[in-house]
Symmetry: C2
Subunit: 307 residues, 2 copies
């Protein structure tokens, strides 16, 4: 029972209508690990950081059962750094700075101790590297999920097309689903994408929730209506962490259980956006999470007694 | 057990990416009546039409239990006519023609036979006329719901503000909720609007579903993911018709039952968009509706058994 996570560990500078922070830990693998560690341990992270990555941040992850053997620390380079500014609608953002730094050299190697991991989450990185990771797994994981982005659809489409035949779950947002499929209708886009590979497709719609597709089945999870989305950075990765954490914990990859996993992911994402970076994820307890999941039950539950 | 509906009965010319129609019956009170008549009868319509309004359309409504005593037929003027073109995303549309015709003279009069109606749905018309209607009801209905639009927020805000203190349920879309409240956050907007009057607020988000607010409670209903939204005209009114039809049928205006009513409204709207105008609403049977509502159960139902 373990989850292997491949992706960035980084620093971000974030500006939102509610405030700004100049230097906060981030990166897909960081958010995924924080979210998933509430449900399953160990989390086996594979990433690369520079000399500037704070030891306290690594210690904090370790304390939560995150295995860092697969995280390379480069002594003479800085960590991946991203800076962005969100607009009022929080769905659009301007990237101000992208300093890849150590990430230019990222060549993920799966340590021997990670082999046999039943669940594999491929965070958003160059598709050829995601392919390499899958190929390094001596035993095919029970479930492989991946994230990607429009940038790779523009610049590495052939690798991406190959990769999606190798995974079970693809997570993209609605505009990425449209781009990848060439279909405007989300339902048609989902069908077209599943034909090309992944048996399960999750389409993330931010404040409008998420859709889970499998064969002819669909499940819709709402986003929790929040007074303020303080900082959406990492919400998608946090969703992925909650989703994979629940599946790895229960080891049940049925559509029924994936629905619950989507709700768990949505609940975790709803915490993520409440404070800058992963700050809120560091605070919450299992009781907070359970209460939040019960809120989702109330949010969508209705009585079908009709006359 | 009856529902009184005030609003337009009109003709539309509609162009969507899937086709066009030059002349099809429309208007809020038409859609509301078609949807609601599946659940409660009679529907007491109050509207105004011209000499060109087809007798077959009136007969079709009568056949469904729609009382037309309150529908004035003007012998020397044409019916309200609207023409619009939808874009690919179906959320935005260009109005090509708005010929108010008879609607310029609309001064809704509640016939004596409609008095005592327990449920009142005020379709989107000039707020001062909506106020007049409420004032004409000798006995305050058990539940009054209203629709409105941004145009009246720009041009008749004082009347609108007065009106919302007189109703129980306000239905608006997300951008209208933001405009009316001056709050960007939907949750804050809902709270601000409910402070100004309506105990219940429904925020419609088209393909992203609808939110029901009451006190500190929230319910989220998804839209049914459809392969194609063929023509969204009337979807909001059809939602209102299903919502009010279910409430008038069950005579239960608890928050719990309103949740079900929102699902019924969403199910009816999902039919409406499948064909031009109200064509699909004219075809469907009660069995179709029940099956569609069961689809909504599958769409949002999940197992909360966690470990």
């Amino acid at each position: 029972m373990s989850l292997t996570v491949v992706g960035s560990m980084a620093y971000d500078a974030i500006e939102t209508p509610f405030g700004k922070t100049d230097w906060i830990v981030g990166g897909a693998a960081t958010y995924i690990a924080y979210a998933a560690s509430n449900f399953v341990r160990p989390i086996n992270n594979v990433s690369i950081v520079g000399y500037d990555f704070a030891q306290e941040e690594l210690d904090e992850l370790k304390k939560r059962g995150v295995n860092l053997e697969g995280v390379e620390i480069v002594k003479d380079k800085k960590s991946f750094f991203w800076s962005g500014r969100y607009h009022m609608d929080m769905n659009s953002r301007d990237t101000l700075v992208t300093d890849l730094n150590v990430f230019l050299d990222f060549n993920p190697i799966i340590p021997e101790s990670y082999q046999g991991s039943e669940f594999l989450m491929l965070g958003n990185i160059l598709p050829s590297l995601q392919i390499n990771v899958v190929n390094q797994m001596k035993q095919r994981p029970k479930l492989i999920a991946m994230d990607t982005m429009n940038f790779w659809m523009d610049n590495a489409l052939d690798d991406l097309k190959k990769l999606i035949t190798m995974v079970d779950v693809l997570m993209v947002n609605d505009s990425e689903a449209r781009q990848l499929s060439g279909e405007y209708s989300i339902v048609k886009a989902a069908r077209a994408i599943m034909k090309k590979g992944p048996r399960f497709l999750i389409i993330k719609k931010g404040e409008h929730g998420a859709l889970l597709f499998h064969d002819d089945q669909v499940f819709v999870a709402p986003a929790l209506p929040l007074e303020d989305v303080f900082d959406p950075t990492g919400a998608g990765d946090t969703f992925a962490g909650g989703f994979m954490g629940h599946l790895a914990n229960t080891r049940d990859i049925s559509f029924e259980n994936m629905k619950t996993a989507v709700i768990v992911g949505s609940a975790m994402a709803s915490f993520c956006v409440e404070k800058f970076g992963p700050s809120r994820l560091k605070e919450i307890t299992r009781a907070d999470i359970d209460a939040r999941i019960r809120q989702f039950v109330d949010l969508v539950n209705f009585d079908i007694k009709l006359v």
